[in-house]
Symmetry: C2
Subunit: 216 residues, 2 copies
């Protein structure tokens, strides 16, 4: 039920499988290439070499009992579609499949899978981070508002948020503070800032950009 099945260990599938294993989840992986299984065998015990994906293979390997299955087969679009179909016929609660292009995506959606396009997602995310902010990690809420982490400069050292009058001056809300690898979310006007703190702020993209320019 709450085990994860992964079919295809390319760069995307391998990163996905290892991250789930790191979080101590039960993971079952399948691939046609023995070498690929070798790269994860220290972290994932339940790994099976297969020649192709069929209903029998999904049952014998335990994939059919997983709560979520992700099909990560890439260049071989035919195998990707057939594997996705077999997984959906096992009545897995959540099926996600990697698409190579728009046409492939439409076929997968028609057979009932959620679709992910890893390269396109990464391209769009990099563009958004170049446009709004220097940091590569942010969350865009709508075209105009984002959340991002910013490292503070010297000028904020040992000053409280109230003293700086942060919200009025920069039109940003500080929603979290990371100091020495620990994040706290209880923030008030009496919270003191130190020069190496990382603050997480929410506000308009323009206000975030001008704060970063002025602060760095």
């Amino acid at each position: 039920p709450n085990a994860y099945g992964i079919i295809g260990l390319g760069r995307f599938g391998t990163a996905l499988a290892l991250e789930l294993a790191k979080a101590k989840k039960r993971v079952v992986v399948l691939d046609i290439d023995e070498g690929k299984l070798g790269s994860v065998k220290d972290f994932i015990t339940n790994a099976h070499i297969v020649t192709s994906i069929s209903r029998d293979v999904l049952e014998e390997s335990g994939i059919s009992h997983c709560g979520t299955v992700i099909v990560c087969i890439g260049k071989d679009i035919e195998s990707n579609i057939l594997a996705t179909m077999h997984v959906i016929e096992c009545e897995i609660p959540r099926v996600i499949s990697k698409a190579m292009n728009d046409d492939h995506q439409r076929v997968l959606e028609k057979i009932g899978a959620e679709v992910i396009l890893p390269e396109v997602d990464s391209g769009v995310r990099l563009a958004k981070s170049l446009l709004t902010l220097r940091t590569l990690d942010f969350l865009e809420l709508d075209d105009d508002i984002s959340i991002t982490e910013i490292s503070l400069s010297e000028k904020f050292d040992k000053k409280t948020i109230g003293e700086i009058n942060f919200r009025a001056k920069y039109r940003l809300n500080i929603i979290a503070l990371t100091r020495d690898e620990k994040t706290r979310v209880q923030i008030g006007s009496e919270t003191e800032l130190l020069k190496l703190d990382e603050i997480v702020v929410i506000g308009k993209n323009d206000d975030i950009s001008s704060f970063i320019k002025e602060n760095s």
Copy 2:
């Protein structure tokens, strides 16, 4: 200076270039394949076919005047490394290059480029979203705290944040509210919630997961 240069229009490079063009930025793109340039020519006028990347090509195409250049060449690792080196020698302020694997990443870092591994990033992001939350979009601040968007259910309809005593009851801070495609960040205890609102919350991953289970 604030123009963007993109070398290589695969799925990643194309998504990146189109998103930057959509934001009305000046974009220069290069590729060895005429067909790839055709797929972006309606949105990007400054597109050049090249046979290889050299100092002269970077100057003639205008890439050498860009503030940020992203090398998105994939399978041909040798061309990717040589192109990155030529770009760095043009003293471009920010150079980002796509790596195919860990060894490739180390070479690129040694020659002075920032490195991105799109497939690995997407794999890790998908794992994190499966682990913490059903939504595919969230920001992880440290191993324990995340920010995510959640759609509200009927039970919150026409109640204020103060009436629900949201922070005490769910141990989450509401930092933004999206209603009819518009996001607001000025949130207080008197803010009224409606049943189709999307709220953005910050808090511990466990508290987010239990809120999602209880709320859906």
